[in-house]
Point group: C2
Chain length 244, copies 2
């Protein structure tokens, strides 16, 4: 039995912490690339500049994560490379048909990804947890999406129903990425399933965490994690005035 | 006669200064977009991160130009919009066939654009001139290009001759963009032809500047500007070990 499988959720293994930081870094790198491409396609100069600033903001957040990876004795590029192009695969499978759909892609995709990272961060040491939460909350371009899409959807019923349909497609693909990550990165599964449990039910006695858990426990915890991610998605679509 | 046509080169009209700052801002915006796209296509994580940082650097330089436009009482978005997509047209006409050609596009295109802006900045007030020079010199990713392309060209004669040919195509297109700018933006023509003259021949008596000049003078000054731009291009290709 390795130290990773015996560590309680409150003192996550350093390797697991690095794996999560790598995922957050990868998310910021993909966000940088995507927001820069969005900026180039934006219909007005004002939107182009706003998206450009969001893109540069992702770089600043990435650097903070890199600094912390180095403080923990990790190598930023190695942690980043674990995820290769896993989130770009999501993009490749969800080619948007319009500017509106493109905005929804980032809103839904990053929404699920951020919630997953937050669930996984719940069991980390306070300093790392605060950094991850702060970095994820700093990706505030969701506000621009909410303002733009909710207004457009309110004006146009056909657009609204198309976007609602597109949102269901996107969340399905996003949850598929989460499933892939849980299988391919055991470190993330340990953190997200522990963290998800801790977040959902703080009254559970310490020691019933899924470290060394049975397949039935894991299935139960995975279902609970997916339930939380879906609930958050429903709430997010509600902010747009769309049904999930 | 407007104040713009009577102002001597040493005290360029505020409107002309704003036009040049708008061009520098547009160059940085296009650099941000292009470097972000390059980053997404980079063959290694290390190169991807370096290009990402160059891209974020372009945003930081753009913000400095915006601040100065506002100090001079201008509106950044309005100055930016003068140039609409003039430099993206250059990109559209010069689709590279390989990663090497893509690197050369930026090296040659921005090289000519930077030299043009420096020529136009020569007659500005010292503070604005220093800002423009500093911003343009900050775009130092040329060093990465020189290291990568000169090494690749030295190893492979066929690649070297292809890149030399591509460089000639690129500089032709780039000089075409300069010609378009001189015609469509009289403010830039006033600055670049005055500045080009001042830079080339400091002994010319004040007052012989091309403000209110004859068509023959303008043709002479334009030829001189293009001569300087071409000479700088030849020097740049030499750094790659390629003939211009």
């Amino acid at each position: 039995m390795t130290s990773a499988t015996t560590a309680p959720p409150e003192s996550a293994d350093r390797t697991d912490v690095l794996a999560l930081l790598g995922l957050v870094a990868h998310l910021e790198l993909v966000a940088f690339t995507r927001l820069a491409a969005d900026s180039a396609l934006a219909p007005t100069t004002d939107q182009r500049l706003r998206l450009m600033r969001f893109s540069a903001g992702a770089v600043a957040r990435l650097e903070r994560i890199f600094e912390h990876i180095e403080e923990l004795g990790g190598r930023p590029d190695a942690e980043l490379e674990r995820y290769a192009r896993v989130l770009e695969d999501f993009d490749a499978r969800t080619t948007p048909g319009s500017w509106w759909e493109r905005m929804l892609n980032a809103y839904v995709g990053y929404g699920v990804a951020d919630d997953f990272c937050k669930a996984a961060a719940a069991g980390l040491d306070p300093r790392t947890r605060e950094l991850v939460m702060d970095v994820l909350d700093g990706a505030s371009h969701a506000d621009l999406t909410v303002a733009t899409l909710s207004e457009a959807a309110a004006r146009d019923d056909v657009l609204a129903s198309r976007l609602a349909l597109w949102g269901r497609r996107l969340v399905g693909e996003a949850l598929g990425v989460v499933q892939t990550l849980l299988v391919s990165q055991p470190a993330l599964a340990r953190l997200a399933l522990d963290g998800g449990d801790a977040g959902a039910d703080r009254t559970a006695p310490t020691g019933t965490a899924p470290t060394g858990s049975t397949p039935a426990d894991t299935a139960e915890l995975t279902a609970r994690l997916f339930g939380r991610l879906t609930a958050e998605h429903t709430r997010r679509m509600g902010r747009l005035g769309l049904t999930a």
